[in-house]
């Protein structure tokens, strides 16, 4: 499962890592899925860190492996079709991949909590909101019924549900989408986890509600010194809420940098393509198109995986795998031509 002797290649440490060891450290994670009896790496050699109090974005389109990566950190992938074939997931120095299923169950929902995209289906419609939030507390904190109920009211209040104590006995269908996502966050926060993994937490929400939820997540990261791994496809969400960004394409990290550095000086053509393809409300962008669609895991190109869709690709780009190399301003990128291309907004205009 793991390779303790393997040394991580050119230290892809998080650009804004404080000197202390990071809260979560994912090292060379490779995840494979079986397609017609053949194992294909859907995620290959992914490494990144999440520090305490830090919000790290995992950005990519569907099929990029971002969701598989985040599910794998909690070992939540279907063991029938999927397996983590190598790598380490260190939470405070402890490798989660070597834990027993029992130990892992204690980590989930306790030290690490997770919230999902769909607030409508993530809550059980048959139980009251108070009992669902309380159950988490009882399971992991051993609180009694009354204590759990008190804690539930406390966290529901914390996430901004009006008159929280009086709504404990309401069922999920009595809450709106935005309120349900708040309940999910309350459930995640009830045990004061050190790490929150949020998979597209605002995608199903309206823009005016999205801002409220992002504020909430960011506020908790700061106030509770909680690390957040935020999985999203939306660079607007990244710009609003994150500190570090990991950009994934076709199962690999293609660029990893501090937020402002990444937007000021993108070095991978996919990153800059994403930044400029979507129309923005301030009228910038939307002029460029990334042609084609991402490759299937069964047909990843042998050379640069973005190569077939890249405007700057040369013959040498398709020759063999492109290694992850350090960025001059911190972080890593995976482009042969990163040094010669000027992908900054000014450079693109020139």
């Amino acid at each position: 499962m793991t390779h303790p002797t393997q040394t991580p290649q050119p230290a892809p440490a998080a650009p804004t890592t404080p000197s202390a060891p990071p809260l979560l450290s994912v090292r060379d994670l490779t995840v494979e899925f079986a397609v017609r009896g053949e194992w294909n790496a859907v995620v290959s050699d992914v490494s990144f860190d999440v520090g305490a109090g830090q919000v790290v974005a995992l950005v990519g389109e569907s099929g990029s492996g971002k969701s598989v990566t985040c599910f794998s950190t909690l070992r939540l992938i279907d063991s029938q079709n999927g397996r983590i074939s190598s790598g380490e997931v260190l939470l405070n120095g402890r490798d989660l991949l070597t834990l027993s299923e029992r130990e892992m169950a204690d980590v989930r929902g306790n030290e690490v909590a997770m919230i999902f995209q769909e607030p409508m289906t993530s809550l059980n419609p048959a139980y009251t909101v108070g009992s669902q939030v309380g159950e988490v507390v009882r399971r992991h904190r051993g609180a009694d019924r009354a204590g759990a109920r008190r804690r539930a009211a406390e966290v529901l209040d914390l996430v901004g549900i009006p008159r929280a104590a009086s709504r404990l006995d309401d069922y999920p269908h009595q809450f709106s989408g935005g309120m349900r996502q708040r309940v999910m966050i309350a459930m995640a926060l009830a045990t004061e986890p050190k790490l929150l993994i949020a998979d597209e937490p605002t995608t199903a929400l309206d823009v005016t509600i999205q801002a409220q939820v992002l504020d909430l997540v960011r506020g908790f990261a700061r106030d509770l010194d909680m690390g957040v791994l935020l999985v999203t496809h939306d660079l607007g969400v990244v710009a609003e809420a994150c500190d570090d960004v990991v950009v994934m394409y076709a199962g690999q990290v293609v660029e990893h940098a501090e937020l402002f550095d990444l937007f000021d000086r993108p070095r991978h053509p996919y990153t800059s393509g994403l930044m400029h393809s979507l129309p923005r409300v301030d009228g910038v962008g939307g002029m460029e198109v990334i042609p084609g669609s991402p490759p299937l895991p069964t047909a990843f190109p042998t050379g640069c995986r973005f190569g077939p869709r890249c405007r700057f690709a040369e013959a040498a780009c398709h020759a063999g795998p492109i290694p992850l190399t350090p960025r001059p301003s911190g972080g890593t990128d995976r482009c042969r031509r990163a040094d010669e291309l000027d992908l900054t907004p000014a450079g693109r205009r020139a």
Partner: protein, 310 residues
């Protein structure tokens, strides 16, 4: 301005996008029906079941030509012969009739019975179900209540009642079984129609300006065929069982005609001395009913309409 001028129409990369964890990607250009067949014929159980049903239907059609003897001709010099006797492969019954021939003609009777009842069920169950599912409203309410009422009759008692009124013969008995199928087909098709109805492609088709009959024929029907096929297969099994039961009781096929049920009934008296006149038709009934049920189950497993999500 962008670095490189935007192409008018962006090229499309060949490979469709599927979920990374997605099911095996199907071969190209495979229609949903083909995909169903591929999955369905995979396991050996369903292939075996398919073989049994095919054999049954083949024998049913060709009984007249294949049967070595006339099934009703008695030969009192050759009574109760054991199987593998010369000229009588499966032996004879207490009246000296050839068991193999009677078995073959019984297969034909069973097939007729199954066909009549299933056709009755389809004819009166499916069209109202499509209408009720697509249009909802009062039609749905009326048809559904009728179906509920039909469903509350115990099948064999209903058959007994109908045969009691209209006289004991196979057609009447199977009409009764057909009536039993009506609400079952109705419910399956209505439920499937309700699900299809919510799909946007129905709304899309209506927005194009298609009449209701078109929507039913071109969009709803093809998408409810699979669950219906499951139900038909299970119904065939039930029809075989029902026909033998009714014939066993003397309410279906009348003597001296051969049916699996009447063979069982006639063999009953002497079963302790000569068990084969019972074992042979019983095996046929069990094999066919089991095969139909296995077919139904494995069809149900293969129906799932998978989707590739980008």
């Amino acid at each position: 301005m962008s670095l490189v001028p935007t192409p008018d129409i962006p090229p499309v990369v060949e490979a469709p996008v599927t979920e990374p964890s997605g099911a095996p990607s199907p071969p190209r250009h495979e229609s949903p029906r083909r995909r169903f067949l591929r999955r369905f014929t995979g396991p050996w159980t369903s292939r075996a079941a398919l073989f049994v049903v095919a054999l049954w239907l083949f024998v049913a059609v060709t009984a007249t030509w294949l049967a070595p003897h006339d099934p009703v001709v008695q030969d009192l010099t050759a009574r109760r012969l054991p199987p593998l006797s010369p000229d009588h492969l499966l032996g004879t019954d207490s009246l000296g009739r050839d068991t193999l021939s009677r078995l073959m003609y019984g297969a034909r009777v069973a097939a007729q019975a199954a066909a009549i009842s299933v056709l009755v069920g389809l004819a009166f169950g499916v069209p109202p179900a499509l209408l009720a599912g697509l249009l909802r409203g009062p039609w749905d309410a009326v048809f559904s209540r009728i179906a509920d009422a039909l469903l509350s009759f115990p099948p064999l008692l209903l058959a007994l009642a109908i045969v009691g009124v209209m006289g004991p013969n196979l057609t009447n008995a199977m009409l009764a079984i057909g009536i039993v199928f009506i609400p079952r087909f109705f419910r399956v098709v209505r439920a499937a129609t309700l699900a299809v109805r919510e799909e946007t492609f129905i709304e899309a088709s209506r927005s194009i300006g298609t009449p209701t009959s078109w929507v039913l024929r071109r969009h709803v029907l093809p998408n409810v065929v699979s669950p219906l096929a499951v139900q038909i297969s299970l119904a065939l099994g039930f029809a075989i069982l029902a026909e033998s039961s009714l014939s066993f009781l003397g309410l279906g096929v009348q003597a001296p005609e051969a049916s699996w049920g009447s063979m069982l009934s006639e063999g009953r008296a002497a079963w302790f001395y000569t068990p084969w006149p019972i074992i042979v038709p019983a095996t046929a009934v069990v094999a066919c009913v089991l095969a139909c049920n296995v077919l139904g189950d494995s069809m149900a497993d293969s129906v799932g309409r998978e989707r590739t999500r980008a």
